[in-house]
Every structure is written in C-alpha cells, then in structure tokens.
C-alpha cells in the first residue's frame, strides 16, 4: 500500500528520463576532462550542455532550456571551436594537455563531491518535488518577463552594460595593431 502511494507521488517516466540523461551527461563530462583531444573535448561539452538543456525541460523550465540551447550550443561552442582553431596547428591527440601534477585534482574533486553530497542529502533527503500544474508551467515565461521588467530591472540594465563591456573588451584584446 505504501509502495502504491509512493508510485502515485513519483512520476516514473520523468525519473527514467532523468537517470538516462544524467548517465549520458556524467559520461560526457568525464570525457570532457579526460580526453587528450581538444576538439573531442569541445564536442563532448556539446553533449553535456544539451543534457543540461534536457534536464531544464524535465524541471519545467522551457525558457531557460531554449536560452541554453541558443546561447551555449549555438554561440559559446562556436567561440570555443574558433578558439581551438586559432590557437592550435594540429587537430589530433595531444600529449601534454594535462599538468604535471594533474593527479592533485582527483582528491580535490572527491572532497568537493563528498562535502556537497553530505550537505545536499542532509538538507533535502526525502524532499519530493510536487509537479507544477499545466497552468503554472504555461505562465512561467510570463512570470520571468514580469521579474525582469519589475524587481530585476536594475540588474538587467547592469547586465546589459556588462555584456557591452565584454564585447568591447574582447574586441580590444583580440585586435591586431
């Protein structure tokens, strides 16, 4: 009886989708930080970013998902591939993409992961996400625009200046003179 109640609370299809996408994302993320080939790392990063966009859709955040696809997969990856193209002569495996003492990263990453798992499980263990209703999902983009043009108008203007400064700065840095 208890299991039946639990099954009604938990959306099985959402969970299966979550675990499949999460497994693909973790494999791709490990490949990003372990492959010897810079171009392959960039292409595995596309898989991770696409997986994050899929998780946003599972988390009922369509607007963020579409922005993720447009900004990251559309623009940032092109920037990365241009950066690789302009800074490397050969497109192949590279023997020295890692630092001499790259193994130091393993304990640091494990400690970070351990601390995060401990705190997350301590704080949110057993918390079940109540699925938003269709009306809530449909109004989320409206609420985002209300937030941007309401409470967060000043940060939005500041952000536009940040983007302007970054664009000008990137041009000044990369310009040949």
């Amino acid at each position: 009886m208890n299991a039946l109640l639990l099954a009604a609370d938990v959306n099985v299809a959402q969970n299966i989708g979550f675990y499949i996408i999460a497994a693909i994302m973790l494999y791709a993320a490990f490949s990003v930080v372990s492959t010897k080939n810079v171009v392959h790392a960039a292409l595995w990063l596309v898989v991770v970013l696409g997986g994050v966009a899929a998780q946003y859709i599972l988390a009922a955040a369509e607007f963020v998902a579409v922005s993720q696809v447009m900004v990251y997969i559309g623009a940032v990856m092109v920037l990365f591939l241009f950066g690789i193209m302009l800074t490397r002569a050969s497109i192949g495996a590279d023997t020295d993409v890692n630092n001499k003492d790259w193994k130091l990263g393993i304990p640091v990453g494990l400690v970070f992961f351990g601390v995060l798992v401990y705190t997350v499980v301590d704080a949110f263990e057993g918390t079940v996400i109540v699925e938003p209703s269709a009306a809530q999902i449909a109004s989320s983009t409206t609420l985002i625009s209300d937030g941007y043009l309401g409470d967060y108008l000043i940060p939005l203007i500041a952000l536009s200046f940040v983007l302007l400064a970054a664009a000008v700065g990137a041009i000044v840095l990369a310009r040949k003179d």
Binding site: Q14, Q55, V71, S140, Y152, A170
Partner: protein, 99 residues
C-alpha cells in the same frame, strides 16, 4: 521526483569541473571546465526554482547564462592574445608574475 536527484547530479558536474580546472594545462580546456561548473550552478538554480515554486531561480539562471557568455568571449580573447605573444597557451608556462 526527489529533490536530491537534481542536486546530486549538479554536485557531480561541479566536482568534475573543478577537477578539470586543476588538471588541465591547455587554457581553452580550462575554460571548458569552467563552463561545466557554471552549468552545474544553473541546474541547481532551476532545481531550487522547482522545489520552492518560485520563478526567481529561472531569472538568476538566465543572468548566469549571460555572464558566462561574456566570460567566454573575454576569456578566449585573452587566450588568443597570449597565444599571439607566446605561441603557446600552456598555463604552467605563464610565470612572469612568479615571486
């Protein structure tokens, strides 16, 4: 759907990104690892928006996406300039400021 699913996935992504930042020698690959970290933070923000039924998490996630795009633009500009001056983007060779 349990709340810890999203949060643990994002913790794993964050740790992998931190490992990449420490382990990698190529500046472009370090920037890619930073993208992993920023994406894990975004996933956390969206998950908290879902848990707390508050749209502010989406707004912050979009702010982070915009700042990350600016950061990649400036970062790759700097990498290109370093490559032009030194013919190398190996981070352990940049030691002029070594005391």
């Amino acid at each position: 759907m349990y709340a810890v699913n999203f949060l643990l996935l994002s913790a794993a992504l964050f740790s992998i990104g931190v490992f990449g930042v420490i382990a990698r020698r190529n500046a472009v690959m370090v920037l890619m690892s930073i993208e992993l970290i920023l994406n894990s933070v975004n996933l956390n923000l969206v998950a908290f928006a879902l848990i707390n039924k508050d749209i502010d998490g989406h707004i912050f996630a979009l702010f982070v996406i915009a700042v990350a795009a600016a950061e990649v633009g400036v970062g790759l500009g700097m990498v290109l300039m370093i490559y032009r001056n030194r013919r190398s983007i190996a981070l352990d060779e940049l030691s002029e400021m070594h005391g």
